[in-house]
Structure formats: C-alpha cells, structure tokens
C-alpha cells in the first residue's frame, strides 16, 4: 500500500504540473461561470489544447488519440487539473461512456478514424439511452430501429441527453424486436446526430438551466455498419457502457465538501467564525468522513482497474453517497445562513451562490445516471448477490408488459 507516487509517477506528475502551470487558467476568487454557450466553446478549446499536448484520454491507446498510459496516470492528471479553473470533465460522457463502447465494438477503421476526434473533442458525442417511459427501467425503452436493406430506420424519443445539442455522434440503444422479452430485443448503434430526422430540444430544469435534452427521431437512418455488437445484444453492450459511466463519474462526482470547508473557514455567523461553532464542526467531521471515504474508495477502485480488473458495481456507492451529501450540505449551509440563505443572487451570496445553486441542482444529480434507489439495487444485486425481486415483466414479450405510462 502506497498513497504516494512511484518515481515514474512522480515524474509524470511533475511534467503535468509544469504543463498546467504554463497552459491552464488559475482559480481565482472571482470566477463567475459564463453562459452555457461560452462554457462549451471554452471546453472545446481546452480539450484541443490538452489533446495537442498529449494528455487527452490518458488511459487510451496512442493510436486512438490517447496517451497509452494507465488509469493511475489519469488520476494524477485529474488531481492536478482540479487545481485549475479548466472545464476538464466537460466531455466526460463521450469519452467516458461512448469511448469504451466504440473501443469494444467498432471496427478498426471506425476506431482509428473517430476516436482521436473524440479525444480532441473535435467531435462531440452523446449517449442516448433514457426515454420518457424508460428511466430507472432503462430496458423498458421503446425507440424503434427497423432494418430496411442495410440501414436501420429510427423512430422514437430519447430524453436526458447531455450535450445532444452540440453532438456530432451519439451511442443509441434501440428496440429492434418487441416480440421477444425486453432484455433480448435491444440493439446498440452509433448515430450521426447532424442528419435530418434528428431533432434536439432542450429540457428546462427545475433550476432554470438546460443541461439536458430531449431528442426526437423521425425516420433517422443508421447504416448497419454502425451497429455496435450483435442484433439483440444491446443490453449487454449497454451494461458495459453504464459500468464505464460509473467509473468515469466516480472521480468527478461533486459531493459538496470542498465548498463547505471553504465556507466554514471564512464565514462569520452572528459575528462568530463558523469554524468555531461546535455544531458546524460536528457536521464538518461527519461529511469529511464521507468525503475522504469516497475519495479513497475511488482510488481503491482505480487500483483494482490498474491491476487489470474491470470497474465493479462498487462504483455505484460513489454516486449514491456523493449526490445525497451534496444536497444535504447545501441545505445545511442555507439553514445556517438563515433568512439571507434564500438570496440566490450570485453577486451577493457566498461563493457566487454555489450553495443556493446546488440546492436547486442537486436533486438532478440524485436522479441522473440512475436514482439513489437504482444504485441501491445495483449494490444489493450485483455486489452483494441478493436475489432480484419477482419480476412482473419476466418471460413475456416486450409488447405485452403492463404499462400505464404514456407514449
């Protein structure tokens, strides 16, 4: 066990530090987040710069645009870049979810052609799984893909698609056979998002933002050559993507602790420093244990991956704990602030209204990428091996499964 770098890792870290110092924007007290469009442009520019320097997708093979290094190197990169004010996780869904799917299922030619463009963020990718009536029950999806000649014709609707409005490609899961049981009738593809018949509509979130989209498919086309895996093999492929998603997210999942610590170190409540308040201290200790535990858990998982393991369902715990904690910390801070806590003006509220914004955004994190309840199911079934519930949708054709949902 060694929580410090090996000499080779230390060298890599030093190199990264030097490059970042020369190229990355330092964090300042007054950083205000720009418009969504601006942030997208900045992210594109940053990813290109990182790619050109050879630090994009550090754990990918060099021939696909990566650095050919290990997950541990990627962690080092993340630890260092975190100290700067750069949008390093902006395209994590493409690179973290779609990348591995392409790596696993695409043809060599597709990989050589598309992956480096994904790594440099020249092409932006999105993931098209969820649907209005297929949320926690992803496999309940209904978007149809029907084969006509050597093309698949796509009709239906996806939802909660991050970055769809900017995307060049998407990895999509479709129902190709409603007459077999639900987990068997799905197939995965990658799709050109810029073609006719693909219509992206932003969803306005409860916090007023629009990070997610609905995507409507109206006779959109996918050549069979863009099929990822076997016809009917979509569920297995999707599980692979979701597994990688949890790994990709686990490192960057906000848990709210660093902001809380920062606040406690600077805030006065009724003329007394918050850091001297025993109640605040108790909460700080409680959440630090979770924060430190999550960080160390991620590192344990990465150690396992670096040793050749596959990312396990354990990753679900990071999202489960972090998302709830993030919401509760923000709410706690507001309670501490009292009446003024409700003021969400970024120029007036602490840390540019971070806590007010988090109170309104955090509920989404508890839902996106699998609800708390789905995470607990995953841990119970996939990690602990507990039995599934009796299944009302088992062994019957998809089209015959009871559903009161619309659409």
């Amino acid at each position: 066990m060694d929580f410090k770098d090996s000499p080779e890792q230390a060298e890599f870290r030093a190199e990264v530090q030097a490059w970042l110092k020369a190229n990355a924007k330092p964090k300042t007290k007054d950083t205000v987040r720009g418009s969504q469009e601006n942030r997208y442009k900045e992210a594109k520019a940053w990813y290109k710069k990182v790619f050109d320097a050879g630090y994009a997708c550090i754990a990918w093979p060099k021939e696909y645009g990566g650095a050919g290094l290990s997950q541990i190197h990627k962690v080092i990169w993340s630890q260092e870049v975190e100290k700067y004010d750069e949008p390093d996780g902006y395209f994590v869904i493409g690179q973290g979810n779609c990348g591995p799917a392409m790596m696993h299922f695409a043809t060599e030619q597709q990989k050589t052609e598309l992956l480096p463009r994904m790594a440099s963020a020249e092409d932006v990718w999105c993931q098209l799984f969820s649907e209005p009536s297929a949320g926690s029950d992803v496999a309940g999806l209904r978007t149809k893909a029907q084969l006509q000649g050597d093309k698949w014709i796509i009709n239906g609707q996806k939802i909660w698609t991050s970055g769809a409005q900017h995307s060049d490609y998407g990895v999509i899961l479709c129902r190709t056979d409603p007459d077999v049981s639900k987990y068997r009738g799905m197939t995965m593809f990658f799709i050109d998002m810029k073609q006719p018949g693909v219509d992206v509509q932003p969803i306005t979130q409860m916090d007023g933002g629009s990070h997610f989209n609905e995507v409507f498919f109206n006779n959109a086309e996918i050549p069979d050559s863009q099929r990822l895996g076997d016809v009917g093999g979509g569920w297995g492929a999707a599980l692979l993507v979701l597994m990688n998603e949890r790994l990709a997210i686990s490192g960057i999942q906000p848990d709210g602790f660093p902001e809380l610590l920062k606040l406690v170190q600077s805030l006065d409540i009724d003329g007394e420093p918050a850091r001297n308040n025993p109640l605040v201290r108790e909460r700080l200790a409680h959440w630090y244990c979770q924060h430190a535990g999550l960080k160390a858990s991620t590192n344990r998982m990465l150690t396992a991956v670096a040793k050749g393991g596959i990312p396990g369902a354990e990753a679900a715990l990071g999202k489960l704990v972090g998302a709830v904690m993030n919401q509760d910390i923000a709410n706690y801070v507001l309670q501490l602030l009292g009446d003024t806590g409700a003021i969400s003006d970024e120029s007036l509220a602490e840390q540019h209204a971070h806590f007010q914004n988090t109170v309104m955004f955090a509920p989404g994190i508890r839902l996106a990428g699998g609800t708390d309840e789905v995470m607990r199911n995953i841990i119970a079934e996939q990690v602990l091996g507990l039995p599934q519930e009796p299944r009302a949708d088992k062994g019957i054709a998809f089209k015959d499964i009871p559903s009161g949902n619309q659409g």
Partner: protein, 370 residues
C-alpha cells in the same frame, strides 16, 4: 381535552381549500414564479375580499374577531396552494407586530386598514447572515429618522409599509415606516422562491413612527416570531401534504418493470417516511396552534417545536417528492420544484433550523428547571 379543530374551523378550512384549489392553481402560481408579476395582485384582492387578513383582528378594530385557530387552518391552505401573495409578510408579521407592540391609537388606526387590505405590511428585522440578532442591530433612529439597511425582507419590494426593528439611543424599538417615501430605496433580491420574494431596504433618514405600546421591543419580537412560527408551520404542513399527494399520485400512475412504481418497497417506504415526518410536524403544529390560541405559557416551546418539525418535514417531503418523480421531477415543467422552493423559503424566513433548535432547547431546559 380535544386535539382537533372544531367543525366550524374545518368548514372555514374547506372553504379556503375550495377557493384556492379553484383560483390558485399551480399554473397561476407560475406567473409569479416566472416573473410576470411581483405577486398575484388579483388573488390578493380576492383574499382580502374574503376577509382572511381580518381573521385574527378583533371586531372592534375592524376585524372578523375570529381567532388564531381559524388563521391556522387558512395558513395550511395557503401553504398547500403555494399562494403567491404577501399573506405571511402582511398578516402573520406586520399585523401581529402592530397587535403586540403598537399603542392603542395606532392599533385603532392601522388594524382596520390591514383588515381590509388598504395597505400591505412587512417586517424588516434581519441585517446579516444568521438569524435575527437584536444585539447586533445597526439600523438606528434619531429624531424620528431611520437610517440603515435591512435585507431578506419578505415582500419588502412591494409592501406599502414596513415594521422596522432599529435602535434609538442604543435601545431597540419597532417603527412603522412608509416605504414610498424618497428616503427609502429598495431592491428586489434574486431568491430561491420568487413567489415569496425578498428585498433589501435602505433607509436614509426616513420618517419612522415608533410603535408606542408598552411592551419591550425584544420581547415583542420574540413573540412575533413565535406566533409567526406557528402560522408558518401550518403553511409548511399544507405544503407537505401537497408534496406527498403528488408523489403518491405520480408513483401510482407510473409503471416500471411492468408494475406500478408505487408498488416498490423503496418507494412505499420513502412515502411512509414522508408521511411520518409530516404527521409529527402536524401534531406539533396543532399543539402550537392551541398554545397560540389561548396565549398559553407553552407557546414559546411549542412554537419552536412546531417550527423545527415543520422545517424538517417540508424539506424531506419536498425533496423526496422530486426523487419519487424520477427525472421528470427535475424538470421546470413539473410542479415538484414549486414545493421544494417554498420549503426553502419558509424554512429560512424567521431564521433557519439551527436558530430555532437552540431556542427550543433553551425553553425546554427552562421549562424543566422550573
């Protein structure tokens, strides 16, 4: 011993609910939420017409001469309906401040006006982060002129008059201030629940009339806060009820894995926990209502208890209602966030949970030491 509202009170509540469910739909609440208006003036006019602001004002002061229990059941319905009107600011805060701390002549002049909604009042106490602290007041009055800044004033941007807490010669007092005068500038503040909007009020030598009752100002404020705490707790349990109902209806109608979402134990137990939190809060609110209605010695402790319970319950019910809705709960389109925003607003007005927990314990230990 009777731990329930009377049939008459329940009738008033039913009338209020019928009126608000017809008139104050969430579609209408959204007009205020989305900034079309600062508050719902038409709805406010209807509410004034119904006499609700006059509920707990005595008949000889132009009110209906009903009591706090009647105001509590109306509060529950206001909370359930998320009414985007200055009822809290004007009725629970300004009116009660005047009832408690104004002189007889002032009461006779102002209460009949408040009863018929001639003007809208608000309470300006807070100056800084943390709960209101009378020890640290910076607003001060000299020769009838008020100077200083108040923040997080509920409905401060649209109220006609404010009850302002300020010192005069180092001694705290309550002052009525006309907000339309030139010496007052005010700014609406962006806040979590635009249907219960906050404002900053800056006073620069503004005319201020001291409330002339013979109660100590600190004691008066404590009493105003306690009364409002009970009334707010009813708004909060109304909100809890609505949020739990939403969760129940949505999860019963929606299917996943071939069955109703509400048939999964994870959801059932989540809703059961919401129910438990809500019922404990309701019971504590009832006790507070009784204490308020007879001005019992138990009021300070029971008000703090009602408030802490209600803060916890509404946070839980409103956030888990979002969760029970899955992704749709996170959309602007669904109403879940209206309750969640209101839960935040109501929990922070009058100071948050840590402040009230400390008050509660102080009162509990005093009660049990005596």
């Amino acid at each position: 011993m009777n731990f329930d509202f009377s049939e008459d009170q329940k009738f008033i509540q039913e009338q209020a609910r019928n009126f608000l469910s017809a008139e104050c739909t969430t579609a209408r609440v959204r007009k205020t939420l989305e900034g079309e208006q600062d508050y719902d003036q038409a709805l406010w006019a209807q509410i004034v017409e119904l006499g609700w602001p006059a509920t707990a004002i005595s008949e000889d002061q132009g009110g209906l001469g009903l009591g706090y229990l009647e105001l509590c059941v109306i509060a529950e319905e206001m909370g359930r309906a998320l009414a985007p009107v200055p009822f809290i600011a004007s009725v629970y805060l300004a009116t009660e401040a005047i009832k408690l701390a104004a002189g007889k002549a002032q009461q006779d002049a102002w209460l009949p006006q408040l009863a018929v909604g001639e003007w809208i009042g608000c309470l300006a106490s807070v100056e800084q982060a943390g709960a209101f602290n009378p020890e640290a007041l910076k607003c001060s009055v000299t020769d009838g002129k008020l100077t200083g800044t108040k923040t997080a004033v509920l409905h401060g941007a649209i109220a006609d008059k404010a009850i302002v807490v300020a010192t005069e010669g180092g001694k705290p007092g309550l002052y009525l201030v006309e907000l339309s005068q030139a010496a007052v500038s005010r700014k609406a503040l962006k806040c979590l629940d635009p249907t219960q909007p906050l404002a900053e009020l800056v006073f620069d030598q503004a005319d201020a009339e001291k409330l002339a009752g013979d109660i100590d100002a600190i004691a008066a404020i404590s009493k105003i806060y306690d009364r409002a705490a009970v009334l707010l707790s009813f708004e909060q349990i109304g909100g809890c009820d609505a949020a739990l109902n939403m969760a129940k209806e949505y999860t019963s109608a929606r299917y996943a894995f071939g069955r109703q979402v509400a048939s999964f134990q994870a959801i059932k137990h989540k809703l059961a926990d919401m129910f438990v939190a809500k019922e404990l809060a309701r019971s504590n609110a009832y006790y507070g209502a009784w204490a308020l209605s007879v001005n019992a010695d138990e009021l300070p402790l029971s008000a703090a208890t009602a408030r802490v319970s209600a803060i916890d319950a509404y946070y839980q019910c409103s956030k888990e209602n979002i969760q029970a809705h899955g992704g749709m709960g996170f959309t602007w389109e669904f109403d879940c966030h209206l309750y969640y925003r209101r839960a935040q607003a109501l929990s922070l007005t009058l100071g948050g949970s840590p402040y009230w927990k400390e008050l509660l314990v102080e009162r509990l230990l005093n009660a049990n030491a005596a």
